[in-house]
């Protein structure tokens, strides 16, 4: 949403698109089939202010992980802009990109496959520092010891291999690796999903503590609304490649507007909750290859009207600081007196 000045936003994403073309061969050509692609990210824009955490929430296939990777330039987006401190990263070559890579780091979901099993943990961390040529050899070793302590492990753990650690400990190492270069932006892609509940809580607490002490800006990608709510300042809900609702966390959970958000919230089983307004959606998410015409959520939407079948709703600020992409929500809100619409 355009309120923030460029100086405040660490990250600006504009109209980001990433499609993955499906294999298309001779037979397809002969049969005159149209080439198809998985429209993983289909036009996403948002700003992220320095020091804030954006929770990116959605179910499988919504494009949240792909979005994260496009921002990091682990994938090259098809078009759009990704500006870090005002500089568009999309057209930089590898050389030019290196200093920016240092400023954005990632923690992945699977602690079992994201660490090189043949390398000691210490060497994995050193490697990061070597690539970015930070300090002398002695400095780098000291930093590795410091990092391990910071994430709740011991400096002596540097000699061990990943296989000697539990899932939770490996995730701590993944976090240490991400923080090694002192990034400004940390993207955590489902960092807790592979862990047991009590370990999740430990890692969540670690992320909270580190964020506070290091002043990190974060994008926290997750399908788990409960965790996202705990960690994020602002939440963006994604469906089939687009953001359908975005608002400050408390606002989103108190006054969700989009029917998909309502359905997600209804679906989350909570300890201690009274029944909130529930909305049941049937069916399964359609594939991102055959994105429905009009509003992409309309086939499953209990609120849909004629307009939804033909016209894709724009993500618009319908309440202060609160953007929604839904014709029906917009119509509902426009009927309210102006005074009732503010926070």
């Amino acid at each position: 949403m355009g309120q923030r000045s460029a100086a405040e936003s660490l990250l600006e994403v504009r109209d980001l698109v990433k499609h993955f073309p499906l294999p298309y061969g001779l037979v397809d050509a002969v049969l005159r089939r149209r080439p198809e692609s998985v429209r993983a990210v289909d036009g996403v824009s948002f700003n992220l202010a320095r020091g804030k955490t954006l929770g990116l929430v959605g179910e499988s296939g919504c494009g949240k992980s792909t979005l994260g990777r496009c921002i990091l330039r682990l994938y090259d987006a098809d078009h759009g802009e990704v500006r870090l401190d005002g500089v568009d990263l999309m057209h930089l070559d590898e050389q030019q990109l290196l200093p920016y890579r240092k400023r954005m780091q990632v923690v992945f979901q699977d602690p079992y496959s994201s660490l090189n099993p043949r390398q000691s943990v210490g060497n994995t961390l050193l490697e990061v520092l070597d690539v970015h040529r930070l300090g002398t050899q002695a400095d780098r070793r000291r930093r590795v010891a410091h990092l391990l302590t910071q994430v709740g492990l011991r400096p002596s753990d540097a000699h061990k291999h990943p296989g000697e650690f539990s899932g939770g400990q490996r995730q701590r190492i993944g976090i240490a690796r991400a923080l090694a270069v002192e990034p400004d932006l940390l993207i955590a892609d489902e960092p807790l999903s592979a862990l047991d509940v009590s370990i999740q809580a430990q890692i969540l607490q670690l992320l909270l503590d580190l964020r506070a002490s290091l002043g990190l800006t974060m994008i926290f990608i997750s399908h788990d609304l409960r965790v996202v709510r705990y960690l994020s300042d602002e939440v963006a809900v994604m469906y089939l490649g687009k953001i359908v609702e975005q608002a400050p966390t408390a606002e989103l959970f108190a006054r969700p507007q989009h029917p998909y958000t309502l359905a997600l919230l209804s679906a989350v089983p909570e300890v201690g909750s009274a029944r909130r307004e529930t909305i049941e959606i049937e069916g399964e998410p359609p594939s991102a290859v055959h994105v429905p015409v009009g509003c992409r959520f309309h086939p499953r939407c209990p609120w849909r009207v004629e307009r939804c079948l033909h016209e894709s709703p724009e993500l618009k600020e319908l309440l202060p600081g609160h953007a929604v992409a839904c014709h029906v929500a917009e119509a509902k809100l426009s009927l309210l007196p102006v005074a009732d619409r503010s926070g």
Binding site: G168, Q202, E282, E284, P285
Partner: protein, 326 residues
């Protein structure tokens, strides 16, 4: 009170490995009433899946039952010959597994997998009709068309529904569901869980739900056994468990779940679960427990009654009253 659907008493399961014997289940006891929704809650290594598999005699060798009894309709399944257990599997007791892609046979169609469990006394037409009826019952749209599908042609949610259909085909008295929705998206998860509980009530089935998700337990379950390191740490009705948790592990688990109230700090449990090979005497949770004393490390901790139908394997329960609950 009518006869319980299942009585598990002092069940023990061991898995010999090169490193030593893993004591996966160490004296687990609980009872499930007909029509009851019962949950086994725990994290990895708690023994909940092993317990389920042991109930149905589905342990993969070299894992084996080394003690205790599992009484279904008054008969102990543990010493029963395999042919007799086979007659009960799928019929009296059915199981739905976590990952439908590996549990379903990839080379058989949906119809074949459902009718496989039906008796030969039905004609093929009748079996087909029953399969369609089951698919409809589990909410699969266009069931006649789906009969000819293979598992890889279905989505995760649909496969899970097919697993359910197979499980329910003989209208079992007891359904074991081992993390049936963990691999599914949240909105599909909600659909499947609602379906399982609705069918359960319709069919008067008892349900044992194995899960790590306390939210699911809170919303859907009648009674809970919280498992830790192969033992039942606490056993109670759901409302009672969340209102008055009486085991440090339960308290820790509830404190680990980010709650509605963002101002309540997370209280993670420090440390990790014990190695089930080198498991010592005494309480397995002691190393991570804020209330532990030497007594806790000394000998077997008894399973004591701490409230109405509420049991805990802890000798410090009177010190826990007033500790943070759900």
């Amino acid at each position: 009170m009518s006869e319980p659907a299942l009585v598990v008493e002092n069940l023990r399961v061991e898995i010999p490995t090169r490193r030593g014997v893993v004591h996966a289940v160490r004296g687990v006891s609980f009872t499930v009433q007909p029509g009851e929704t019962f949950a086994l809650v725990g994290e990895s290594g708690s023994g909940k899946t092993m317990t389920c598999r042991a109930i149905l005699r589905l342990l993969h060798p070299p894992a084996r039952i080394t003690g205790g009894s599992v009484r279904f309709r008054g008969r102990d399944l543990v010493p029963m010959p395999e042919e007799e257990v086979e007659r009960i599997r799928g019929r009296g007791i059915a199981m739905v597994f976590q990952d439908p892609m590996t549990a379903l046979n990839p080379v058989l169609t949906v119809e074949q997998q459902i009718t496989e469990t039906l008796t030969n006394s039905r004609s093929p037409t009748e079996q087909r009709r029953r399969a369609v009826e089951l698919l409809r019952q589990v909410g699969i749209p266009d069931p006649e068309r789906r009969l000819g599908s293979y598992p890889h042609q279905l989505s995760g949610g649909q496969r899970q529904r097919v697993m359910l259909a197979i499980g329910l085909a003989r209208v079992p008295a007891l359904l074991l569901a081992d993390e049936p929705t963990t691999a599914l998206d949240v909105t599909i998860q909600a659909q499947i869980l609602r379906l399982i509980v609705a069918l359960q009530k319709d069919l008067g089935m008892a349900l044992i739900l194995v899960t790590h998700d306390l939210g699911i337990v809170y919303q859907l379950v009648d009674r809970v056994a919280v498992m830790y390191a192969g033992q039942v740490a606490e056993l109670a009705a759901t409302a009672e468990l969340f209102a008055r948790p009486r085991h440090p592990y339960t308290i820790g688990l509830i404190g680990s779940v980010p709650g509605l109230d963002r101002t309540r700090p997370l209280m993670p449990i420090a440390g990790t679960p014990p190695d089930l090979i080198a498991i010592d005497q005494g309480c397995p949770f002691a190393p991570r427990c804020a209330w532990a004393s030497d007594e806790c490390r000394a000998g077997e901790i008894p399973f004591v009654q701490v409230g109405d139908a509420h049991w805990s394997r802890c000798i410090k329960t009177d010190q826990l009253a007033g500790a943070v609950g759900g």
